[in-house]
Amino acid sequence: MILVGLLGGYLTLLLGGLGVALLVTRGEPRLNIIEYCCLAWLFGTGVVSLLLWICGTFIPGIALQAIVAIACVFLGFVGWRVKQRAAAQFILPIPRGFVEWLLASCVVAEIATLLFASCKHSLGWDGLLNWEIKARYAFMNDGVIPASYYSDSGRAFSHPEYPLGIPFTELWLYLWMGQANQFWVKTIFPLFYAAGSLLLALLGSRISGQRWSGLLVAALVPFIPYFVTGPGGVFVAYADIPLNVFYLAALGYLIYSLDHNGTSMSMYAGCSTLLPWIKREGLILWLVLALLGLVVSLRGKKLQPFLLSLLPGLFVTVSWQIYLAVRHAVPSSDFSGLTVRTLHENMDRIVPICRALVREMADLSHWSIFWLLAGFGLFYLLVRVRNMRSYLLTSAILMPIILYCITYLFSEWPSYTAHITSSLPRLLLHIVSAAWLAVALVLPFSLKVKRKHVTSFSLNN
């Protein structure tokens, strides 16, 4: 029965997510089935967790589960009707040639391997004590986190102020399984990896114009040790990998919208809306993407739809803060207030922070040669390619790094360097896929230049 429940939870979630994806992209004549499976997962987690939170404020228990399930089925039905009316067709992209088949097989094999291996590992420290704890307490209280939890100073270690995107996705499966099951709930995280990997392959292919390039970077992702096995990686069930996937999707569609008038901008809006709902740092990523979106919309003279697209993200962020205030949530003790005085007092931290950043990026046991590759990619984009895409991608990678580093100027930990050591590697995970996107864009460019160079060399000789 547990497995049937788990299946029911996943199906309703995917149905709701697919409905949202079809509604967001209505009017598209050809729908890539792999892309829509990934989007169904991303939007499904967002829809289910938001609905559980909003509806749970008014109705607990089985009625809550029933309402959210009906909403998911309804969204799926409406989305399907919209697709049928637009006579849109699902298509399955088939790899062409040996290289594409090989790389696509690698991506699929890696996803299967990670799904299998994640069943061998426990939830990590934060996965258990920051995220799953909320799902369990809500499950024990008819699907609603008890009000006393938010103000419970004895359990402040579990960060009651963290948003509920991940815990309430876990809660949805718990409600369907009829028990809080720490084994089956782990399956969520390899699915985020799978969605991220496939979206990276798709968006990388579209942006670079070469399918092999997208497939190659997607196949290389699990070769970053920290991404898979590190604290924050796929196995430990933290929110960092999901945040990385939402950021990749939002950024990828934003860049794709530069040259295509389709529904990419709506996808960007949908994916970026959920960033602050996944993790607190998602707000920083949302702000970065909002700034980049502003640039793109001004360039395309589409300011009004862009401003409207910011509203859902603003709504999620503001309503969560209001909710925390109403619940008298224990405030976070990690950072002090953002005051000029604190900034001035802690300016001497800048050099050690930069040093720690460089040391972390150069740590081969964590990242292998990934940051070296990403660095070359960004350098190439800025020096050789120099177009809007390259500026957007570079900003989307550098701005979060800079902003994350600035936050340590306001660290309240007794040792801010311990704070950096403990959290910086996880923060870097958020932009890993975005950096792979930059590499995917550069690969065909650099090969073309090389080929031209070789051709002219051979002609001259």
Binding site: A117, K120, H121, R136, S148, D152, F183, F223
Partner: protein
């Protein structure tokens, strides 16, 4: 990634899989979630469980948090202790509102009486069975 694929076995497929693995590793308790929940059930309801952990000792702090996780919905108070014993910290607590003291990788003060060893490095002292005065 290769090591992560080969190491460990799949499962066990149990509701408290992760927390049980940690409790077994830290304290040697099998089916720790069930054992500890049963132990806390016998404590007076609506009273706080005070958990003492060693400062700068990640294992002790983590074990303390696991205890807090499991003792929901009971109120908990986690006390970080700098010294090897918690004499001052225990003496400072008003016993009337406390259901019991849990010591994670530290010994309870001798004058508190004998506690219940829940596992290696994990001692529960129910307040009703102790005279909380040095």
């Amino acid at each position: 990634m290769g090591r992560a694929v080969w190491e460990n076995k799949v499962g066990p497929v149990e509701p408290n899989q992760s927390i049980d693995v940690y409790l077994r590793g830290l304290s040697g308790i099998t089916h720790g979630s069930q054992t500890l929940s049963d132990a806390f059930e016998h404590l007076p309801q609506h009273k706080t469980l005070v958990i003492f952990v060693r400062q700068q000792n990640p294992q002790s702090e983590f074990l303390g948090m696991l205890i807090a996780y499991l003792s929901w919905p009971r109120e908990v108070q986690i006390v970080n202790v700098r010294n090897a014993t918690a004499d001052h910290e225990v003496a400072a607590i008003k016993p009337s509102s406390v259901a019991g003291f849990v010591f994670c990788f530290m010994n309870p003060p001798p004058w508190l009486g004998r506690g219940i060893a829940l596992g290696s490095g994990l001692v529960l002292v129910p307040v009703s069975a102790s005279d909380v005065q040095p």
